[in-house]
């Protein structure tokens, strides 16, 4: 008897207790992300600021491992019926997310349904182009964007009496001089071999990587990166690899330490490498635009982005979507974008934020932070430089890397390697096309 009374009293107390607290009333919004270190702090601050600014919704950020882990966790959660509201997905996962009609809620639709003010024109087109349909409908919300830049060790270049190169031939010359001048194991190198030397190279020279506007116009796309430009570029790398004037540094960014340690004085990788360079490099450095081949007409074009965007998952109630939409509006705010840009080194996503950072003189001290923006906005994007949308991109990149490695190891010619990469990639794209939801 007594026990039963106690139970009822406890239940009552709990109801009253939670009923009175505003935390109970707030609709929770789950946000899964892959940011660590300083960038994780940025995410937590954004969520806290949003939660403090209003009381209807509560954004809860959760770190879910690296990009691939976060995406796999999200997919697994969706299959189990409890996906998060917002999921940070790296740019190479875009096609996979987009193909999953019903699993995601497109951002343009979300904003319209929630009646939230939303003008896609305020965002930088070079960034939103990647995440929009060919009709300009924004599918996901850009969050952290970066691009490929060339990091340069100014001290070593000065020592070897080399100017900062602008074109690829100049880069090769500079690397040879550096190689002869104490950099025997690495004149220049780079990370993300396929991103830098196939994907960005093609966009930067306005050459297609794949048909159908690099896949943006449909999943029935075919790879086309075995053209003369890409073959010539790979041939150059193979030639320079022989005496380590160029030295391959792996498929991902594990080789980036070779720049900060001073081993490689010229290094092509993401602009998001900034944080590490600033923290570790004991020399003067800068980041300049990617080199180009001057004999290609119209080069350089514009670069494409890397990084990640926020996808809104499908199948949630309308009032929760309202909170998600409010949160995206909150993130679009100019001051907030300037804050994200400064704190993380990632690009601002709105035009107003870029202008504001410029007006504040932010790039005077750190001109290299403007480099990726200048590359992205260098020219009006074309079919070949708007972005990429290929299914199974993570694995595609591994297959392409495999073939490039064969060429660099001297087991295949550059042409054979790229032909094989195209052929094997196309098989995977057809497979993806079959499984994509119609």
């Amino acid at each position: 008897m007594a026990l039963r009374h106690f139970g009822a009293a406890a239940a009552l107390a709990v109801t009253v207790g939670f009923g009175a607290s505003p935390a109970w009333a707030a609709t929770e919004i789950q946000w899964w992300h892959a940011m660590t270190g300083a960038n994780n702090d940025v995410i937590v601050k954004l969520a806290n600021d949003f939660n403090a600014a209003q009381s209807d919704y509560k954004v809860i950020p959760t770190y879910k491992g690296n990009y691939a882990d976060t995406m796999n966790a999200g997919i697994a959660a969706f299959r189990a019926g409890n996906a998060p509201h917002i999921m940070q997905v790296f740019e190479v996962g875009t096609a996979t997310m987009m193909a999953a009609t019903g699993a995601v809620k497109p951002v343009y639709k979300l904003m319209a349904d929630a009646g939230e003010k939303f003008d896609p024109k305020i965002y930088l087109p070079a960034i939103t182009g990647y995440y929009s349909t060919s009709k300009g409908e924004m599918l996901s919300f850009p969050f952290n964007s970066s691009s490929t830049v060339m990091w340069v060790n100014l001290d070593e270049l000065k020592k070897a009496n080399v100017d900062i190169p602008k074109t690829w031939p100049e880069t090769f010359e500079a690397a040879k001089k550096l190689h002869a001048n104490g950099h025997a194991t690495c004149g220049f190198s780079g990370s993300w071999i396929t991103w830098v030397n196939l994907e960005q190279l093609s966009a930067w020279h306005n050459v297609p990587l794949a048909s159908k506007a690099n896949g943006l116009d449909g999943f029935d796309t075919k790879l086309e990166f075995n053209g003369p430009l890409q073959v010539k570029h790979l041939e150059n790398l193979v030639e320079l690899q022989k005496d380590k004037t160029y030295d391959y540094a792996g498929r991902t960014n594990t080789g980036e330490g070779r720049f900060t340690s001073g081993e490689c004085p010229i290094y092509l990788t993401s602009s998001a490498f900034f944080g590490n360079v600033k923290a570790q490099a004991k020399f003067n450095f800068t980041a300049v635009p990617m080199p180009y081949y001057p004999d290609v007409k119209g080069a350089p074009q514009n670069s494409i982005i890397g990084g990640a965007s926020l996808w809104v998952m499908g199948g949630k109630p309308a009032d929760e979507y309202k909170g998600v939409a409010k949160f995206l509006t909150f993130l679009s705010d100019t001051d907030r974008q300037v804050y994200i840009h400064k704190a993380s080194g990632y690009l601002p996503i709105t035009k107003a934020a870029y202008e504001k950072a410029k007006a504040e003189g932010f790039y005077k001290d750190q001109p290299y932070l403007e480099t990726p923006l200048l590359e992205l906005t260098n020219k009006e994007p074309t079919e070949n430089s708007r972005g990429l949308r290929l299914g199974n991109m993570v694995q595609l990149r591994d297959v392409w890397s495999e073939e490039i490695e064969q060429a660099l190891a001297g087991k295949k010619t550059a042409k054979q390697a790229l032909d094989a990469a195209v052929e094997r990639g196309n098989t995977m794209l057809r497979q993806f096309e079959k499984t994509a939801v119609k």
Binding site: T96, Y248, A249, T252, Q395, E402, E405, A409, T435, A436
Partner: protein, 293 residues
């Protein structure tokens, strides 16, 4: 004839094994069955569209010459990992079995690596042998060896075998040590009195008496090399350079988890499962005959 009924009730024995059976069914057979079903399907990563495709996933695999290469490679890797970790562990166990001062310390230290997770093993070896980060790599280069596993497939394969074997040594060591200590000392003494020298004593007395342990470890090591090495491969080489370190289990992992191609990945696991069943069968049928219990 008298029935040997220890259990009075007919149901009780079933009830007693039921929990174990349930666990085996739920955690082993049910997922295995699901994998087999999945291997006949074509499905997107989110599980939104599913098509039944009969044996397409299998046919696709056997059309791919790279798949056969990876089968051959896997057998080579497994053999190399099993042989090197077993022989090295045996050597260490024989040495640690001797009455030494501080032998407990040695034993503890030798068992440690087993507690390390495979990806951590990968990272550890990368710090030693990565061409630009590695401490040992620097010495190798100073010696004039062109150490570059990022582009040299044979070196990358060596690296994987070394790391995978290293991790398994502790486990093998533990069993070998226990096996050695179970051999009665009197047998050795008798052999010594007969005039057998240490090497001869090892090959004619210790080795045959250890054969059950060796056989057991051989099976365990091959299963380990087949199934448990993808974490090491993923952190160290991601299958590269080229495809020179893509083994069957790494392919299952990369196609299924990285590529979202669940059908093909499931078909590969089914094939892998059959292979290990056959392999274990062969071991028990032919190798076990040489074992004296």
């Amino acid at each position: 004839m008298q029935k040997q009924a220890i259990f009075q009730s007919k149901l009780l024995p079933y009830a007693l094994v039921a929990p174990q059976l349930a666990i085996v069914l739920i955690f082993f057979y049910w997922p295995a069955l699901q994998a087999v079903i999945q291997s006949f399907l074509l499905q997107d990563a989110f599980g939104l569209s599913t098509t039944f495709v009969w044996f397409d996933n299998y046919i696709e695999l056997f059309r791919d010459p790279a798949y056969f290469e990876s089968i051959v490679r896997t057998f080579f890797f497994s053999f190399a990992i099993a042989v090197s970790s077993l022989s090295f562990a045996l050597l260490l166990a024989v040495m640690a079995d001797k009455p030494l001062r501080g032998s407990m310390l040695y034993r503890t230290l030798l068992i440690w690596p087993y507690a390390v997770a495979p990806p951590v093993v990968g990272v550890l070896w990368i710090f030693m042998l990565h061409p630009s980060l590695g401490v040992l790599a620097r010495y190798l280069r100073a010696l004039g060896i062109d150490w570059n596993p990022l582009l040299d497939g044979d070196q990358a394969a060596t690296l994987i075998i070394l790391a995978a074997a290293w991790k398994q040594i502790s486990y093998n060591f533990l069993f070998f040590l226990a096996g050695l200590q179970a051999i009665p000392k009197s047998v050795f003494e008798a052999a010594a009195i007969d005039g057998a020298r240490p090497m001869r004593r090892f090959w004619t007395v210790t080795f045959p008496l250890l054969s059950p342990t060796i056989f057991f470890l051989l099976v365990v090591n091959i299963v380990y090399a087949f199934f448990d090495t993808f974490g090491i491969i993923d952190t160290m080489t991601r299958g590269g350079p080229g495809t020179s370190t893509v083994t069957l289990v790494y392919k299952v992992y990369s196609d299924g988890l990285l590529g979202g191609n669940l059908g093909s990945s499931a078909a590969q696991s089914a094939i892998l499962m059959i292979m290990v069943i056959v392999l274990t069968g062969i071991q028990f049928r032919f190798v076990e005959r040489k074992v004296t219990y």
